[in-house]
Symmetry: C2
Subunit: 309 residues, 2 copies
Amino acid sequence: MPVTLRDLANACAVDTSTVSRALRDDSRVAPATRAKVKAEAARLGYHPNLAARNLVTGRTHTVWFLAGGLEAPQNHQPATTAAKRVRECGLDLLVAVHHGDRAAHERLLLRLRQHLCDGALVIADGLDLESDLLVQLHADGFPLVFVDRHRADLDIPAVSSTNAEAAAELVHRCVAAGATTLVNLFNPGGNTVEDARSAGVRLAAEQLGLPVVGPDATLPATDWTVFASCESDARGWARRRALRLSRAGVFDAWHGDLPPGSVVHCADQDFAAMGALAADLLLDLMAGKAVEPGLRLVPIAGIRRITGD
Amino acid sequence: MPVTLRDLANACAVDTSTVSRALRDDSRVAPATRAKVKAEAARLGYHPNLAARNLVTGRTHTVWFLAGGLEAPQNHQPATTAAKRVRECGLDLLVAVHHGDRAAHERLLLRLRQHLCDGALVIADGLDLESDLLVQLHADGFPLVFVDRHRADLDIPAVSSTNAEAAAELVHRCVAAGATTLVNLFNPGGNTVEDARSAGVRLAAEQLGLPVVGPDATLPATDWTVFASCESDARGWARRRALRLSRAGVFDAWHGDLPPGSVVHCADQDFAAMGALAADLLLDLMAGKAVEPGLRLVPIAGIRRITGD
DNA sequence: TTGTATGCGTTATCAC
DNA sequence: GTGATAACGCATACAA
């Protein structure tokens, strides 16, 4: 049986309230008793029951990080920096994943309302973006911050990249590298991130006076460049259209090989900074500070030029 | 203010105990009252306070997964499968990371004793392998299972790969590919995984009648092959010794380029299976079933041959 | 500086 | 079938 405050109180011949105060370094307890209590606690191997403490204080000092999975840098990088920030404030960050499983996802959102954590960071994939539970949660004042994608219809604070600007810059660089026809694979209406990127492409194209075409357009033999959110989107599209992929503007990563002469521009998001900012916002929210709802944009880390030579 | 059992009891004009039973589908409650209670719970937006429930039942239905980080497949892959297994049993798995930070690590281990979870899976990196807290935890009967590395001096159940066999097989394949001098970078005494791999190399070398040398040995101009736990270990060694790395046997992954004519054998561990098995063991442990202490070996997923052509 | 009393929200053991 | 009642372990306003 675990050692409780009572056991300690008995061992020290004082009241449980005194023990409680002593262990929490309350200034009003005599140095001698405090020392005795602490010594006894160590001797008996006392460890507070946080379930009990949470029950009475109503706070758990715990933050959850909800994501679909752990593998993608989009998920684990913000989780990593957020964990550090949260820890600096004396709280713990716990990561929970749902693997895109609808039931699992609902269950996790339910857990948030069950007093196991004080707030949550949410990497909003498809499931979160539909769920009513999220709406109710927020309506009930539960501290919530979106990372990356978000729901524009809710005034939940959100952290994302400068997607529009980054997409526009991708266009400019690709055009400087010879592109004349821009294939826009960003899916407007898909989610807020895709929306922003698509808008960025259109804006840049307009400035440059170049045509933007969809995935199914007829293309010139050369000088087209495809823009997509990730390498596999671009590659998948090229495969379906039986095209040789040699020019692209993408986000986050490009691992695959490129044929000689080809060039890819890759905009790397600063997931670490996003996680840190999101954690800061959440901590403010949990502290009761006024946090403006709406989107925060974090500059991308940079744009890399990758060639096939 | 959150809705409590009492609010529900008042709204339904029954006792809290009846509400409690109704919500948990206790067979002794009248269908009519159950329906009414459930309807009212939905209407008022009731959500149980799990801190309170945990306090009285003594169980949290929660499992923690402790790791140094999330990025490495060694960490997130077992976490992923373990999460699924755990979820199937109606429990939740939460991932907590310490980033190699000593204080953070200690804090997490402390948390385990504070009734926030019923058991834990531990990816034992350097910190875990030293900590006394882990020993005490286990001594107090806290359900614990090691994944990958473990402490041989504790009878905590552990799941690892068939490291010795895999290392031996790496040697055999590399020798078949022309190796005659085997450079053993596996560090015996480092940890249980390195130990096993080092032993595997020595065993295979003995069978083949070939010499095993350490990282600082004088090498023939050619026909040596280096064995290491990961690509970066092998590359780091080659860099320090100003050697051109063209033959290696490693574990888990090889991403970098290889000069033409070179060949690397890579033993892929089955992290997913390891996570699943570890979860099963932990669940048994938590269910009070007798679980034999000691190491379980999961076969590696396979050995890939990578060439620089 | 310490003790007393009460309550946090829930489950469980009794009665009825 | 349902209702009192007593825990669970801890924190805290209030007394002393």
